[in-house]
């Protein structure tokens, strides 16, 4: 039984084939990088795995269960959390509340508990608030819990989004260009965070452009081109693959 397995995944947008008959597997406890030139279908792949987009054909299996066709929240609760390429935090909630949102699945209290404000609910609320604080602490936002996201610098917003994803206690974390648009300090902070997560044994699938980032964080790389798998291997294997250089790296070196 493989951890996450993509079987002949295809997604069309009208006439355009964004992901074409894509199959690969990722291993548990490893950080897998998904790279490729612009428009090669990386984000679409993430969207298909997380259930945000319906697949045209093919399937995704997660820990032996077919998850294709399930709704995004069900997939999230099975243990696949994600972030977005363009940061999508909840702007009308505080940083702490942003993280708390993703803890909704941990409550045993129902609507009646909420309306009657029972002791059970209060206990759970305080437990989950502590847990959310811990997560903020983990991503380096320990003191920012009461801030509104719009008052946070870009890098912190990204970390907040990651904290929200971690709040689901995922087995697999999908990161869509986590380092995009960051300055040097922020970049270092995110790199550091991912390395720390890797140490805890969390599996990660990340889409990234920055080669430096991929080199530092990633155990295994899958290269996409025109929605198809071009190559697969360790970063150093990929680096030397002439097809990859031609399709992707080569172009950048020019």
């Amino acid at each position: 039984m493989s951890f996450l397995k993509l079987n002949n995944l295809t997604r069309r947008f009208g006439g355009l084939v964004a992901v074409n008959d894509l199959s690969f597997e990722i291993a548990e406890g490893k950080v897998t990088g998904l790279i490729g030139p612009n428009g090669s279908g990386k984000s679409t792949t993430i969207n298909l795995i997380s259930g945000v987009l319906p697949v045209t054909s093919g399937s995704v299996e997660f820990m032996g269960h077919r998850i294709t066709g399930k709704s995004p929240h069900a997939i999230s609760r099975m243990g696949i959390a994600r972030t977005y390429q363009q940061i999508r935090v909840f702007e009308s909630l505080t940083a702490l509340e942003n993280v708390q949102v993703a803890r909704a699945g941990m409550y045993r209290s129902g609507l009646a508990d909420v309306l009657l404000n029972t002791g059970k609910l209060k206990r759970e609320e305080s437990r989950e608030r502590d847990k959310a604080r811990e997560l903020l602490e983990l991503v380096g936002l320990g003191k920012k819990g009461d801030e509104m996201p719009r008052n946070l610098p870009y890098g912190f917003r990204r970390c907040l989004e990651i904290a929200r994803a971690l709040a689901l206690e995922p087995k697999l974390l999908l990161l869509d260009e986590p380092a995009a648009g960051m300055n040097r300090d922020e970049f270092m902070a995110v790199t550091d965070l991912i390395l720390r997560l890797r140490k805890t044994g969390l599996s990660v699938l990340l889409v990234e452009h920055t080669m430096e980032f991929v080199e530092t964080c990633v155990d295994h790389v899958v290269v996409l081109n025109f929605g198809q798998k071009l190559a697969e291997g360790t970063f150093h294997q990929i680096e030397q693959d002439p097809r990859v250089i031609e399709a992707y790296l080569g172009k950048e070196e020019l």
Partner: protein, 346 residues
């Protein structure tokens, strides 16, 4: 300090509650009763639109279904009044669940069109289903609420509705502070991100639609027993628009938005009902509401709260002190008029 901060709002509520005891003008009491009922519908819309981001321009339908349901049950079946009102709420709750189904597929402007259509359909059924509603002839002879054997006076009705509204507001308050409320607010910010944060947004929609339909239904039920007479004109589209206007004027994102807006929007046209103004007052009141929306798009309640907080800070009783307190105060709405179309994230 914190306790002191709560004194003034409580005082305001207490002052409001003694009005009927001090002012024996029955017209004023009647209008306050109407206002309280409107507040209930508006509070339901605050939950639906302000918290969960689902637009409804058809809430007069729930108000109408609730009103006719209790009218029919009490007059034709012989239910006691209180049971009639509860049943009206329950029926609306079910209808609200059904209306939440289209919201799985459509949102924003399209959802508002769906709800307008729904409101029109319900209205036309009220007009045309003669055997049930007597159609345009109106439905007379609806009993008043009784206390023991005595019919409840208007002052009594005021306190009954105030308690009901208080309970509704309390329920919304608790909901908004819980994990469910946070999920709703998240959903109104970004539905897809909420889904991927592990929240079943469909369930959330069913919940919030039925909640706000329940509020509308109970309000309608109370209205039926206050006016003792129903006719279809009270449930037309412009009433739905009026309810939304109440929620917006009061403050869509504030727990108290519905209450404040309901009071203000009900009272404004009555204030303008001045001698010789019989053709101008509606123009005046719609202009007043328009100006309120333009000047205070996030509503009166957050604005007052802001002023109050700043005043408190200046006097040194501001508790935590800082200007931005998380809930409600002037976050405005998530999406600015322009440029809020989120790119699909491909």
């Amino acid at each position: 300090m914190e306790r002191f901060k709560k004194v003034i709002p409580l005082l305001a509520v207490a002052l409001f509650l003694v009005i009927p005891l001090v002012d024996d003008n029955q017209y004023h009491v009647y209008m306050l009763n109407r206002a309280l009922i409107n507040c209930m519908v508006a509070t339901g819309l605050v939950a639906l639109t302000g918290f969960a981001g689902q637009m409804s321009l058809g809430h007069a339908a729930f108000y109408g279904i609730g009103a006719y349901a209790t009218a029919l049950l009490t007059v034709r079946v012989g239910f006691p009044v209180w049971l009639g009102i509860i049943s009206a709420g329950a029926i609306c709750l079910l209808v609200g669940m059904v209306l939440s189904l289209p919201s799985f597929k459509v949102s924003g402007f399209y959802l508002s069109l769906v709800t307008i259509s729904f409101g029109n359909i319900v209205w036309m059924l009220i007009v045309n289903w003669h055997s049930l509603t007597r159609g345009p002839l109106g439905f007379p002879g609806i009993p008043s609420i009784t206390l023991g054997t005595q019919p409840l006076s208007r002052v009594g009705f005021f306190y009954v509705s105030a308690v009901v509204l208080g309970l509704m507001t309390l329920a919304l308050y608790r909901l908004s502070r819980s994990y469910i409320g946070r999920g709703m607010k998240a959903m109104s910010d970004d539905e897809q991100a909420t889904e991927t944060a592990g929240i079943d947004t469909k369930r959330m929609k069913v919940l919030v639609f039925s909640l706000s339909a329940l509020y509308g239904g109970i309000a309608g039920g109370l209205y039926a027993h206050l006016s003792n007479f129903l006719s279809p004109e009270s449930f037309v589209f412009s009433e739905s628009a009026n309810f939304v206007a109440m929620a917006v004027v009061g403050g869509l994102r504030s727990i108290y938005g519905g209450v404040v807006g309901g009071l203000v929007v009900t009272i404004i046209p009555e204030l303008l009902r001045v001698k010789g103004w019989e053709i101008y007052y509606l123009m005046g009141s719609s202009l007043a509401i328009l100006l309120l929306v333009i000047m205070l798009p996030s509503g009166i309640a957050p604005a007052v709260q802001n002023v109050y907080n700043r005043l408190g800070a200046r006097l040194g009783i501001g508790g935590s002190g800082s200007g931005s307190n998380g809930n409600g105060s002037g976050n405005g709405s998530a999406a600015a008029v322009r440029g809020d179309s989120k790119s699909g994230g491909r």
